[in-house]
Symmetry: C2
Amino acid sequence: MENRFEKKQLVKKSENFSQWYVEVVLRSELADYAPVKGCQVFRPYGFAIWENIKDILDREIKKAGVKNAYFPLFIPEKFLKKEKEHIEGFSPELAVVAFGGGKELKEKLVVRPTSETIIYEMYSKWIKSWRDLPLKINQWANVVRWEKRPRLFLRTTEFLWQEGHTCHSNYQEALEEAKRALKMYVDFYREYLAIDGVFGKKSPAEKFPGAEDTYTYEMLMPDGKALQGCTSHNLAQNFSKPFNIRFLDKEGKERFVWQTSWGITTRCIGAVVMVHGDDQGLIFPPKIAPIQIIIIPILDGKNDKVLIDKAEEIKEKLTNFRVEIDKRREYSPGWKFNQWELKGVPVRLEIGPREVKEKKVTLARRDNFQKIEIPLSLLSQKIKETLDSIQKHLFEKSSQFLKKATREVFDYASFKKIMEGERGFVRAFWCGNPECEEKIKRETKATIRVLPDKTPEEKGRCIYCQKPAKKRWLFAQAY
Amino acid sequence: MENRFEKKQLVKKSENFSQWYVEVVLRSELADYAPVKGCQVFRPYGFAIWENIKDILDREIKKAGVKNAYFPLFIPEKFLKKEKEHIEGFSPELAVVAFGGGKELKEKLVVRPTSETIIYEMYSKWIKSWRDLPLKINQWANVVRWEKRPRLFLRTTEFLWQEGHTCHSNYQEALEEAKRALKMYVDFYREYLAIDGVFGKKSPAEKFPGAEDTYTYEMLMPDGKALQGCTSHNLAQNFSKPFNIRFLDKEGKERFVWQTSWGITTRCIGAVVMVHGDDQGLIFPPKIAPIQIIIIPILDGKNDKVLIDKAEEIKEKLTNFRVEIDKRREYSPGWKFNQWELKGVPVRLEIGPREVKEKKVTLARRDNFQKIEIPLSLLSQKIKETLDSIQKHLFEKSSQFLKKATREVFDYASFKKIMEGERGFVRAFWCGNPECEEKIKRETKATIRVLPDKTPEEKGRCIYCQKPAKKRWLFAQAY
């Protein structure tokens, strides 16, 4: 493996962003292409991030009173067809099982692209009375949406996600649940993934097929393209009616439930890679880094035992952190520095004979390459401070970029010029007519990403048709 | 929902075991039938057990230096065909995707029944040198094996499991890894699921298609049928050769790796239900119970606030346990007792006005229905003792049953009689001829379950053909 990495320098992020992305994902061993079209393998280093993400979100999901369950992978075709928009939205992306147990199936089975239909079929059996509400269930699962232009983490035929599905006795409670889930995702992106973005509502054309409203968190990638970070849907009664999910209310009257669904996928790992990485490779926010601290004893063949013992001793003191020691003798310290920088470990500790003698370690930050010497007596405290500082610094950089790359635009010529050039978010008036939205998309590849939360009403003119418009929406080309 | 449970008493376990099993799983809301043939839904209460099991095993797996990853759901048909026994073993059970993204696929994709082939295809890319070994990866995943006679948890077309896949530089190390995994499962069944059983090796006819040897843990269910609890395979070089997984050893020589794979599935939840349950419903071993303690304030409409406050206060003191309070006013205390007994919660705490006044609680054990009064000052300690005692008691009962239902048999007439009657394990000489094994199966429905570990060589005669035989194997009818 040594040869593979030494063969060639990593392409520079600033010079060829999309090539850099692929190289950094493959070389850091986050993921690999699978021998199945459109699919990827989550290698241990990449999957460890997903495990950290799952731990964080699972805790939040449970705190909100949502319980985990597991529903079948296969969905009978007829269920998908019960909600018209839903089947129209998903049918081009479906994988279909036609044979089972050696026989051709009479009714084909769809591999779940999302689980509303199969889950709601069960809900209609389980829910009878107001006593059964609210019903709040989540599942962590794999889903399949056939992908013609796959990109590692960002768009793959199979991906991993969580999907929450809740039922409520009234509209207001469902709306609040959809917004709670959105807020959970926003906080997660900001606090843990250190990625700033904009949250709010999707346009009708961009919402989930079958939802009344879709809420989302949109982020900007360094190439000026937007990435949708999550979705939370207020489904109203759009599914409860065709799936016949009814309950007896306290007055003994039969009503349809109000529903939400919400999810976040493994694509968020792609966002972390794109937003924080640099020419040397990945940079992980400490809160989700698989390894937060890599200890590298500077082995020289003379003092190896002393150095490794010291490294072990230090590791044992850092039980609050995710720490590893690179003890391999077959690689040089310099090679190891490069390797762990490529892998985005936030903090490196170097231990050489001088450090042992002076009861110090040398700490190198991944985000800005600063090196400081730390007396062992202050180690744990200084590491905590450094990790916090890296986490904060990464978020601040992301915020600054978001601010810089968001433009207020009032004429279509400027809009087009931006989309042909450096892209980014454009805030512009839109009249609400889907035709304008569609034409803008065709002419500039930019779509409406989101109506930012708390967007005030103003008086303006649609960026496309010049007719009166009340609100400014966020446009961008998107992944 | 109240009506559903009050409608009818649960069928008695002793009177109709298989009906009892279905009823107890459905009524306790562990699982439900899915509207997809052969599949089931894991409801929150059932899935919570799987989450506990995952936590326990995942910790052990990581302790053994195995890392989690995730490989694709879909496997190109040609990979499955690379190992001859493997494809022959699995082909009757496959689900096959024939359409993707609206088009008929040129090469059909199999929904993974197990992942050896797709994982080893990747291993052949990743492994180059002795430095890359051992490679030890695990995945938690769903798998699909078409099932004609499904049973909740025990046999479903889709099920959940973990599958570990390791590569080693020599035979001995692989063998040790296969045995380490087996020991992990054995300890897990005994310590956590409180189910005694017998571990050892499978006969060649019963091993995994493609393995050199398969190790297993076999348990007896109350109806005298055996259940296979896990498998751990020594794959030798049976896959590394067709998949071309080679490494350069320290001498620069190219060699094929030695491999293992090992797994445990959601069927173990079915074993817990069958082994420990009674006429009142489930009994969960405390170590994996989703709820270990249910607090029931005996609400009477007069002292409700005081009782609920006291219940909350007690719950806050029991932070080391999984505790819930049943505060619902729409159900009577008696109904709640039955309900939580059905659900198998190991310990119930009752709090009435008398308990509040005397600073006590009444504790009821689920396993033997004993009730004791505990002064609040000793609560945490007494609960710990009680849970430990229940865990131990369940295992002892299971051990006693195993002992009682295992018979030493030396003539085929007795063998047949046992299999026509109360069944159980039969220990008998077998000559090693697969024809005898096959005929015994056809005539008695009993298969060879396992050659118990450390079975000594003896002089005897095959239970079927009377020819000389050296070892006594364990036979049973099996799930």
